[in-house]
Symmetry: C2
Subunit: 529 residues, 2 copies
């Protein structure tokens, strides 16, 4: 009873003291990044930026919000997901929904007709997020785009090469890049008897095929969208076609496409039997890139023979582009992970040509009990009309680009780190400046000044008289490899020795005490390069 009474008094007092009732959280669909998560995030960013720079990209940045009208009419059905800012007087603003529309606005505003750039930044969508699957309302996009009038399909192929490089480098396990072309889709819709006015909405239905079975998509087309059952069935036949992306048969075509000389012939047996193979002369050190098919060249050829499709101008042009694209992809050696897939549609309105989407096929580490279902990790395509929508005279700047969906990749890597024993360092500190006796703060501060001024990453505990054990424990906890222990003896001898924390092993002395000041050995290995 007494306890209950006291607790009640405490609650009342709490109220009187004006304690805080508000919810302590981040907004729905958002999250903080802890130092550990940031360490993983920076690894991923580094891999991606390195790839973008390897391909000669510049970098730009744009504001997190745009004039509301800049975003209007660009996203079709998804426009309802845009975050608006409150009207506080002045301009009406919205948070950016992707990096593509701000890029197009930037090009038109600055009259740029030729650029290859990347942009890594957060975008905002008022979606219903599935955060466990790596889906958020605030999330990063990593975009690479090529703008300019060029010969067909060369920039498009480079975008696919970039996706292939990044997903390979990150070692996320097996993946597949589905490819299609809006022209082929539109041509297909035409020959199936879809009225022009329904192209975009039927396209949206097709886009759902990766989440819904065909029967449901069909009933949406016929029921909700008023398409004739015949047209829907006709579409159904086409969208179930996609290129083989595994198998021995296509290897022959592949060798043919590479115009295989004697070296090819010599190693063909090894490839077709699936034997491990790294010859160094013809393979690039990535054997998996050789267990390949043409990714769909055979299907393209088949569709070019299709009596209806081959009569449609748009479809024929699209298939011709697709064939050229696959020639370049073959030269890049990446067709093994590519699949020409007539069911790929992409949600956004602004695509006008090649479209693509990369999906992870499975979790690599099978010991994780519930594998993260990740779905699409990259997507993109050609959008030749978007810049023209911003230009006062409607001048077009053809563009093609790719967006890496980094949050899902984080989720996978985070879970993998959790499951493993790997200890991730969140700082880069090389040396802890410690003391063995009391009253040596002054000496420690002088010594660490010398280290900092020489560019060495060093820390000191913010205590006047820290215990040596606590200092060593700090090194162990944070992974600091070296410790410089200052003591009376060291001051007398005029030399501070560095020790490896893990082994207590002495490394050669690098710091000397010279007439009241510390002196760093100029040949010290600790100096940064």
């Amino acid at each position: 009873k007494e306890v209950a009474k006291l607790l009640e008094m405490k609650v009342q007092l709490g109220g009187d003291e004006g304690k805080h009732k508000f919810v302590l959280k981040t907004p729905k669909g958002t999250r903080d990044y802890s130092p550990k998560q940031m360490a993983i995030r920076e690894r991923v960013f580094n891999a991606i930026i390195t790839c973008f720079k390897r391909h000669g990209a510049e970098v730009i940045d744009t504001p997190v919000f745009e004039l509301k009208e800049t975003l209007t009419g660009k996203y079709g059905e998804d426009s309802k997901l845009i975050y608006d800012l409150k009207d506080q007087g002045g301009e009406l603003l919205s948070l950016r929904y992707d990096l593509t529309v701000p890029f197009a606005r930037y090009l038109a505003m600055n009259k740029i007709t030729n650029i290859k750039r990347y942009h890594i930044a957060k975008v905002y969508r008022r979606d219903n997020p599935a955060m466990t699957r790596g889906r958020y309302r605030e999330f990063y996009q990593c975009d690479f785009d090529i703008a300019g009038h060029f010969d067909p399909m060369i920039p498009d192929a480079e975008c696919l090469k970039i996706v292939h490089e990044i997903l390979s480098d990150l070692q996320l396990g097996d993946f597949l890049i589905k490819v299609n072309d809006r022209c082929i889709l539109d041509g297909m819709f035409a020959v199936c008897g879809v009225p022009d006015s329904k192209f975009r909405t039927i396209c949206s239905s097709v886009d759902k095929l990766d989440k819904m079975p065909w029967e449901e998509v069909r009933s949406e087309m016929v029921g909700e969208k008023g398409l004739s059952p015949e047209a829907a069935d006709h579409i159904g036949e086409y969208v179930q076609l996609h290129g083989e992306h595994r198998g021995v048969e296509p290897l022959a075509l592949f060798f043919q496409a590479r115009q295989g000389g004697p070296a090819m012939e010599r190693h063909k047996a090894a490839y077709t039997t699936g034997q491990a193979h790294r010859c160094g002369c013809c393979c690039t050190g990535r054997p998996e890139a050789w267990l390949v098919s043409t990714g769909g060249l055979d299907l393209i050829e088949r569709l070019l023979q299709d009596p209806k499709l081959s009569q449609n101008k748009l479809a024929k042009e699209g298939l011709g582009d697709m064939k050229l694209l696959f020639e370049y992809l073959t030269l890049f050696g990446i067709t093994g992970k590519i699949s020409f897939d007539l069911s790929l549609a992409r949600g956004l309105d602004y695509y006008t040509g090649v479209i693509f989407e990369a999906v992870l096929l499975q979790q690599e580490n099978d010991h994780v009990e519930e594998p993260v279902s990740v779905g699409s990790v990259a997507g993109g395509g050609r959008y030749d009309g978007l810049v023209g929508m911003f230009d006062p005279k409607g001048r077009k700047v053809p563009c093609v680009g790719v967006s890496i969906g980094i949050e899902r990749i984080f989720s996978i890597l985070e879970q993998r780190v959790e499951a493993s024993e790997e200890k991730i360092r969140t700082t880069e500190t090389q040396v802890l400046v410690a003391s063995a006796q009391k009253k040596l703060l002054e000496e420690r501060l002088k010594l660490i000044t010398e280290l900092w001024d020489a560019g060495i990453k060093a820390e000191v505990l913010y205590k006047k008289n820290p215990k040596l054990l606590n200092q060593l424990q700090y090194c162990e906890d944070t992974g600091i490899p070296l410790v410089a222990i200052v003591g009376e003896q060291e001051l007398k001898d005029g030399v501070v020795k560095l020790r490896v924390v893990a082994t207590r092993e002495e490394v050669r002395p690098v710091v000397a005490w010279c007439e009241g000041d510390w002196l760093l050995d100029s040949s010290s290995q600790l100096r940064p390069a």
Copy 2:
């Protein structure tokens, strides 16, 4: 007349064609960053991040918006500058105003009582921006904070050391870091006869002293804020006091503080006469750091003797802290750029102890006609109560931190680059894969695949048959140092040579054509480390 008529028709047609009337711009107070600006920005970020990591900081990130109530009651008069999001159903949100409040929310939410972290991100203020002076509504802050219960003034001193290191590294010209303490200010207000309830508002007036003369500040205090003229005059006497930060006299004190041994004595003459001096044994290679004063130790001693101030508990404690701080700053060797300044007040409500602000004293490059007036480039202080405002039980986590105002630094560096002849590269491409004859696209694409897969940064023009002159011009324009020219002869010889673009000089062959495939010399110097 005819022309006028035609023009009129054109306008009408323009209207009919549905051309775009909207304004093509970024929102007020914001800007895009071009590749060139990004190159400068990345240099600055690198210098800052390197310093933060040198001091053992971890890194975190938080969402760009917070729950509105998270920001409520933290910024005093400035709250009106917060951007709110539109109520679209769900939570009420605001864009972050700084990185300090989100940091405090992060600590309380995750029950973290001990961390040293940095955070670099954009913040938002609906201010009236002076963009030519590097002031924006969307701008970067680079924050470094130390949270935890530690012995007094050690973390505070490290924050000042960090400001000193960053401003020195960036070579922005001469700078001064003004230091004060909210306790001293409050004590001073008390002894001057300011009523408790007016402390914060009078503090805001004092904060305007860097932009307004004392007479105007005084009339604001007396006229608008109802302070007695006597109290105002009394304040006036104090706030005009600040430590000498130049001069020969204080050098003696400085040497004394460093407990100068014989080495000191030997070099003292050189310092006091201002002769260039880099002995390597006692100076750290930064002679300017030695032409120093104590930055205000003398003033602190004088105020500790002040009959009124020394009787005030708060002021006495603050002065004691300040004295300890200066002892540590002397050990760090940075008092030469520090000035204890009683007129420094800082605008934000949440500071509770040491406060500081760094200002650039002049433009370094005098040949710029209109020097950018930059004012404050860094600021910070101690805020021991902020985390407790978020904790349900009001548990306090003492914090001290610094924020680098990067936009003004950009402005200076941008203007300096404009004025100089320096050509800034916006890509890192090492090699352009070019061809001298037509119909070699296939060979170029094979060769660049080999380079990319080996980690070499390479580009190719997206043309089937580009002219050699255009390819070389592209190298010159973008600063690509090397070109690999594929021609019939090279294919016949089986070797592609690399040439230095600037000199046409041949470097040793690194790529060979082997049975239909390119082969990179494995010892190539182009390979990344």
